[in-house]
């Protein structure tokens, strides 16, 4: 199933919204720069930068899913053992 709208129609509808969101991001980074203290060592900044790179990568399919994973804790198949839970199958 796909969108009933053409790419042109989507862009027409969302251009100003995308522009506004980019401006909001730019203003947020300006605000960080103007504020006292150094935030550049904060690990969250690295996640934000990874997210921005994904958004700008035209060759990346499913960008929303990929961005979600950037901001997610990893899953370990051995999570039960790591939590000390019995491996029970019923």
């Amino acid at each position: 199933m796909s969108s009933p709208m053409t790419a042109g129609e989507v862009l027409e509808r969302e251009y100003l919204e995308i522009r506004a969101k980019i401006l909001q991001l730019a203003a947020s980074f300006d605000r960080l720069d103007r504020s006292g203290g150094d935030y550049r060592q904060d690990p969250r900044l690295g996640l934000i930068q990874q997210g921005l790179q994904l958004v700008a990568d035209e060759s990346c399919p499913d960008r929303a899913e990929k961005v979600q994973l950037v901001f997610s804790r990893e899953f370990s198949e051995n999570w039960r053992e790591e939590l000390g839970l019995e491996i029970s199958r019923s």
Binding site: Q68, S72, W79, L85
Partner: protein, 279 residues
């Protein structure tokens, strides 16, 4: 368009909200048991809460022609108190045969801990033992992917769980595929900041189709919008999607899922658009 909100915490909302929901076309809703914003101190607190869900809230909804259904459990946020959780689990069967009770929920994980996992599995055993449907909360933000995978792992390791009778809620772009692929139902919660927007929910419908997918407001005492489902309806219409597709997501799918519970005695509104499926 008539619609059903399959996940909303009306005990936290005003009577004015019921009126607004009725004006927007909401004909039924289901209310999972939830965290009160603070940890309750005793099993009697939960007994009173379950009375509120199964009695008082149903009557409040009835005043506006909205049919109220509910789910019972102790929320994952309170599962760190294992002793209290087990007392609540032992008490829940007192309420399971009351009208409008759909099953066990919203159980799940919050910070993906050992105690949360233990209580989650004991809730699942309770549901299986009493032939109940299950409604599941998946964690927020950075914990969602890991927690959803843990939940799937626990459900799939229990041979007595029927995925077609389980709704896994708050799915987003990175969790919807594994949930649907294993045969479970999936809910998308329309919280703009911490979960999904109406636009992204519409994207997910376009990518995965409408089968076994629902949308809900999960309106509660925090920042949330009880009329979020109509926002999704409008977004779908603005994109040019047909009324039949939209109705399947916001009305027919909840009815199809809920009617697997014996507590779902539903009277469809008397308009042709609402009578497209037999109940």
């Amino acid at each position: 368009m008539y619609y059903i909100d399959p996940h909303i915490h009306m005990v936290s909302r005003t009577t004015d909200d019921y009126e607004t929901l009725a004006r927007m076309g909401c004909v039924a809703l289901s209310e999972p048991a939830f965290w009160a914003g603070f940890d309750r101190g005793s099993v009697e607190s939960f007994r009173d809460y379950f009375r509120q869900l199964t009695d008082f809230e149903k009557n409040r909804a009835d005043q506006f022609g909205i049919q109220h259904f509910t789910w019972l459990c102790i929320n994952a946020k309170e599962a760190e108190n294992v002793e209290l959780s087990r007392q609540v689990i032992e008490m829940i069967p007192e309420f399971l045969d009351l009208p409008g009770v759909l099953g066990i929920g919203e159980i799940g994980l919050n910070k993906n801990t050992r105690n949360e996992s233990t209580i989650f599995m004991e809730h699942v055993d309770l549901a299986v033992h009493h032939d109940q449907q299950i409604l599941i909360h998946t964690p927020h933000l950075e914990d969602k992917y890991q927690g959803t995978r843990m939940i799937l792992d626990m459900l799939l390791s229990n041979d007595h769980v029927d995925p077609s009778r389980v709704l896994i809620d708050h799915v987003e772009e990175h969790t919807v595929e594994p949930v649907l692929a294993e045969g479970f139902w999936a809910g998308m919660t329309l919280y703009p900041i911490s979960k999904c927007t109406p636009q992204r929910a519409a994207d997910i419908i376009e990518m995965y189709g409408p089968d076994r997918l629902m949308v809900n407001s999960a309106g509660d005492w925090g920042p949330s919008k009880p009329t979020a489902v109509p926002d999704f309806i409008i977004e779908m219409r603005r994109r040019g999607h047909g009324e039949q597709l939209i109705r399947k997501v916001v009305y027919e799918n909840p009815v199809e899922f809920f009617q697997q519970s014996k507590g779902f005695v539903f009277e469809p509104p008397e308009l042709p658009e609402a009578k497209t499926i037999e109940t």
